[in-house]
Symmetry: C2
Subunit: 338 residues, 2 copies
């Protein structure tokens, strides 16, 4: 591989001149610039990333910490990742993807070794063990997912509390008096996934306010238990006229469950879900839902991260941005039969 020394030699100038000709950080005569460019072209020169990182202490790489938990819905994760990757490239950064189960250790490794200029953490839990490491690191970080304590960090997430209120409001507004909310499996909550709690608590509070009897159920993670649980639900709450789903697996399984029982939405049951538009599209789900664009969260996180990387001087206050959810009406809800 050609080095900048080779380029300089071929152009008949010193290494520093070649460097300045390429970076434009000092004025160099057009003549020399032309010769350097020609040399770069003919030698196929590309700067060595390691050497440049050493000299500038900038890697132009962003770390992306993903955690694949068995009970998370994987395709949604992919959406976040693509958003992150897209924007990073637009801004000139590459992505170092880390999927190790021990995220804290991995984060320490890539920041300590200066492999990256900053990191994006996906799947942040209430009391995420990566946060102390991130705070101690000399590098900026952006979170997707709202932890309990987010001081000193930039955080992006969907406003799950608002989503919970919206679902309840929607059904209550149509006149429903009793409904079931199917959440993620209980161990997701126990693991510290705050979004489940936030949606649940807001939904419960709103239901109390609106006079809706809301039954809380924690769904199953794996088929066929998911379907069985739904069937069981329908038996246990015969009076319920509304079904709220915050559980992708349950949403995917519901059509055939209803089919099998001869039920139709919204005729026999009003159904409203909470999942990403991508998910709804892939499965062609016929249910109204509170949607979010996970890639958008990824994009926002990277934009903010790069702002911090490139303007370390600016001690902007940290942001905690909660995106407003949106209800997409697919006609699966209606006023209950008297």
């Amino acid at each position: 591989m050609a080095t900048i020394g080779d380029v300089a030699k071929a152009a008949g100038v010193s290494r520093s001149t070649a460097s300045y000709a390429l970076s434009g950080k000092r004025s160099i005569s057009p003549e020399v610039v032309r010769k350097v460019m020609a040399a770069v072209e003919s030698l196929g020169y590309a700067p060595n990333a390691g050497a440049r990182a050493l000299a500038t202490s900038q890697t132009m790489v962003i770390g992306l910490l993903v955690q694949f938990l068995q009970d998370e819905f994987a395709p949604a994760m992919l959406q976040y990742m693509l958003g992150v990757s897209d924007v990073a490239r637009e801004l000139g950064y590459d992505i170092l993807m880390v999927t190790e189960p021990d995220g804290a250790k991995a984060l320490k490794r890539i920041t300590d070794q200066r492999m990256v200029d900053g990191v994006v953490l996906l799947n942040v839990a209430d009391d995420d063990d990566r946060l102390p490491v991130l705070r101690a690191a000399q590098q900026p970080g952006a979170l997707v997912g709202l932890p309990l304590d987010c001081t000193g960090l930039d955080v992006f997430d969907l406003d799950f509390a608002e989503a919970g209120r919206m679902m309840v409001d929607h059904l209550a507004g149509l006149g429903h008096r009793e409904a079931v909310l199917v959440l993620q499996p209980e161990h997701v909550l126990q693991r510290g996934a705050g979004y489940v709690r936030r949606l649940r608590d807001a939904a419960v509070a709103e239901a109390a306010l609106r006079g809706l009897a809301l039954h809380i159920e924690y769904g199953e993670a794996q088929q066929p238990a998911v379907g069985a649980h739904l069937v069981d639900l329908l038996d246990r709450y015969p009076q319920a006229t509304g079904l709220l789903l915050h559980n992708e697996a349950a949403a995917a399984a519901l059509p055939s469950v209803l089919h099998a029982r001869g039920l139709q939405a919204p005729r026999d049951l009003s159904v409203v879900g909470r999942y990403s538009d991508e998910f709804a599209r892939t499965f062609s789900l016929p249910y109204s839902s509170i949607e979010s664009a996970p890639d958008r969260l990824g994009r926002l996180a990277v934009r903010q991260l790069v702002r911090r990387i490139e303007g370390p001087a600016l001690q902007e206050p940290y942001v905690a941005r909660l995106l407003q959810p949106e209800l997409v009406d697919r006609g699966s809800t209606a006023a209950p039969l008297a």
Copy 2:
């Protein structure tokens, strides 16, 4: 951040001695090793990745080139990626994930700049434009997906031809005489995705051999067209007693289509698909299918890649490994009604 110079100073030795104490590449007295280790510990020293890469010309990073094409089934992609990421970490490598649409350009960038020690290409097409770049690069690469010409490259893929034969054999063996094969949308084929062609051609040849009338159909990519197409199919081939699916979207949509028409598998129609076990599990698909573990392909590719990275001397012949598919019987096929 502490450098090795700081460690050396703290331990009262020279930089080179500190380096050797850590790497063990020369014998160093136990006494000194202990002091160096203590210094590392107390200073929190971690070697700078850029500096090390510069000195050793090894980055300990593997490039992962992913292409997200609209009509590919994204979750499967994730499986490949996780397999790659897992094994890479086991072997001490990190992953630089690149998702740019222009894969050839991206590949050139990361290899020319020596950001990686080698690359894994996912989604390799018949005449992939990344291959010339890879062949010209000074770095080893491994492919997941079989291109037309794979000389000089290590390739891993499922044996789609065998999968096609297995599906046909299975139905023919049960006594079916007429069946429909639903493939990926036609533009997937035109884009150069060889696996569709290989499965199709092998299925057609085997059908001819076994005396099965096989109708070839190219499915739709997006809902609700997918479902409509299936409905249309059932009308157009009333004599067909078998349905072969090589199209995830169609497989996901089929249960409700059959339901709506009051058809049951295998009573009215024998169904056999071709998709990953992960996919079958997520959607709880009740169909027998030819399964593959995409993460296994990713793992194999990385293992082979690392072998080449670390033993560049060994000019082992290049491997083209096609995994044997496996038919998982879920009872959705039976002998046709006389």
